[in-house]
Structure formats: structure tokens, C-alpha cells
Symmetry: C2
Subunit: 200 residues, 2 copies
């Protein structure tokens, strides 16, 4: 453990320098090498701090990544919901969970994240988010001996990105005001087919 | 006809002032009132030029709108393709036509348009583009006595926006390198269901 104070991270009393250095190092390394090939130890080294301090401020590597791209919640929260449902309910559950999240007070942050991703200044961060963080566990669930599922989850990402853009950014009616249940009824079967259906 | 010179619009010899004034007036009026409620006459009035000069420089109102949002091609070109196919081939044709366009040398312009729309500084222009320009004629084709089709075409827009974002902006593999035919096989049935299928 370094000599940094602990137990006060909620207020960041005078430690914003170390926090910023960690975030900046993490942004650089995640951006250059992706999520999987970046370690907490490497981030700590680049920031000139002890790895324990990175954990202290940011928690897990996934939570650090979420902080870097300014995700409003730990992706683990959504991933656990998706882990828990049967495969044939995954499409509807994904749509219901994400649209409900975007409609909540966290929605404006989701739009901000989308804008960052689409602005394209850090495309590798965006790809890492989808391939190694957001979609990885779902891909693992649907993978077979002949299909690693990566095309399927990319198609899912395309549909969910589009719902976020049309509903929350452009506010395209009547999709923008459609009740969540109607969005699930319309889009859920699309996502389910991408995950487990015949793609021709 | 005003006293403006004609036949030299390709080089804009000293007329960039009038062109810019027209574009600026059009951006303001389309943004405030949408496509349908903006006339060439009103744009000309706001720009202080003769309506004939607007037609001379920009062609139809749809072409003027395309210039305002910097569309790389006249949307009429795509709309005519879609007008010509049977209803049950519309999904596959839309996906094939748009993805082929985005993969062409015009693709970077499409990404630029998407960035403008998603940046959200002019959301009314974005909504107008989808509701009154891009989707209007397709909506008319699928409308019935009990469903004006607006929810259906908004869902189509969501899927196509998402493909553009995932394939061309984020370059999410393997979707980014997927042959057009494979994208059509995967996404065509989604778009077809949104247009004419059971939405639950």
C-alpha cells in the first residue's frame, strides 16, 4: 500500500491529482491496447501510483473502464441481470433492461456516452467497450463449436445503438414516446433472432 | 428572375455570398419549422434573394434540404429505388441500398451526417430528415386504415442508424467487414418485419 490516505475517496480531499493521473493513464492504455490487454498494474505504473490506490479509487478493472468512458453505472449491474435469464428470454430482457435504464435519470449520461463513442476520437475505446466489456459474457453464452457469436452480438449492438440514437438522441416519434413494453414487443424478437435465430 | 448571373453555379464566381445566405436561411427555417412547413419562397425571402435563384443553385426543396444537412447525394436517388421494389422485398432492398452506399466513397459523408445528427445541436433538422424526407414515402406505402406506419418506419430508422454506427463509425467487427450480402441476410428480415410484420 502506498502512503496515500484511505477511506476518504468519497470527498477526494486533495487527491484529485492522483485520480486524474490514473484516469488519464487508463484512457491512454485502454485506448491503445483495449480492455483485455490492459492491467491495473500497467495503469498504476503509467500513473506513477501503487496498484492498490487504483483499486481503492476505482474498484475493479471493469469499473475503472466505466469511469474512463464515463458510464453512469457499473456495467456489472446490467451484465448480472443478463446472466440470470434463460437464453430464450435474453432478447426481450436486454431490450427491457437497457431501454428502462435509458429512460431513467441515467439516460442523459447514456446519450453522452453515445456521443463520445460516435464522435470517434477514441474508436478503440468504443470497440473495447462493446467487444470486451458489454458483449463478452453474452457472446460466451451463445457461442457454439462453429460460431463464436461475435457477429451475433455485433448485430445486437447495432440494434440497441440505433434504439438509443432514435429514441433518446433524435427523439424520433412515435418511438421516443413508445411505452417500454411496446419497444420490447417490437425490438425484443429482433435481438433474440440475432442471438439465437437463423441469420440466413 | 433576379439579376443574378446564371450558368456559372459550378464555379460559384463571386456568388458565394448569396449561396451562403440561402443555406443559412434554409438551415434556420428547416430547423425551426421542419421540412414540410418551409417553402422555397420563405427561404428566398429570409435570404433576401429571388426564389428562382434558390432553385438555380440548389434545385428542388428536397435537394436544398440535402445541401443543408450536407447529404452526399440527393435522397431522391435512394427513394426511387425503394419506390420501385415490391413491398415484400423492401426490407432487403433498403439494407442492400444503404449499406452499399455507406461502403462506397460516399460513406465518410454518411458518417459525417450521422455525427451532425447525433451531436444534437439541431435535433429538429434530424427529425425532419427522417420523418419528412427519408421515411415519408416508405411510410405512405405501408400505411393502413388503422396504422399510419410512423412507428414502423421509426423502428426501421433505429436499425439502419445502428448498422451505420456499428459498421462505419465504431467499426465493430465482424460487422464492419461483413460482406453486404451477409448484412442483408441478417438485417433484411428485421427491417421487413418492422415494415410489414407482426410487432406484437
Amino acid at each position: 500500500m502506498s502512503g496515500e490516505p484511505t477511506g476518504r475517496s468519497g470527498r477526494r480531499p486533495g487527491n484529485s491529482g492522483a485520480r486524474s493521473a490514473i484516469l488519464e493513464a487508463a484512457r491512454k492504455l485502454f485506448g491503445a491496447n483495449g480492455f483485455d490487454r490492459t492491467s491495473i498494474r500497467a495503469v498504476a505504473g503509467a500513473a506513477g501510483v501503487d496498484p492498490a490506490l487504483v483499486h481503492h479509487y476505482f474498484g475493479t478493472k471493469r469499473q475503472l473502464f466505466a469511469a474512463v468512458i464515463e458510464l453512469p453505472i457499473d456495467p456489472e449491474v446490467v451484465l448480472r441481470v443478463l446472466d440470470a435469464v434463460p437464453l430464450d428470454e435474453l432478447g426481450a430482457t436486454m431490450v427491457r433492461t437497457l431501454v428502462t435504464l435509458w429512460d431513467s435519470e441515467l439516460g442523459s449520461s447514456a446519450v453522452a456516452v453515445l456521443r463520445t463513442l460516435v464522435a470517434g476520437t477514441e474508436p478503440e475505446l468504443a470497440r473495447s467497450f462493446f467487444v470486451e466489456v458489454a458483449l463478452q459474457r453474452v457472446r460466451g453464452r451463445i457461442a457454439t463449436a462453429t460460431d463464436d457469436g461475435s457477429g451475433r452480438v455485433a448485430l445486437v449492438a447495432s440494434q440497441m445503438l440505433g434504439v438509443l440514437t432514435a429514441r433518446k438522441v433524435i427523439a424520433l416519434e412515435p418511438l421516443a414516446s413508445m411505452p417500454v413494453a411496446a419497444v420490447v414487443a417490437a425490438v425484443g424478437p429482433t435481438v433474440q433472432r440475432y442471438l439465437t435465430g437463423d441469420l440466413g
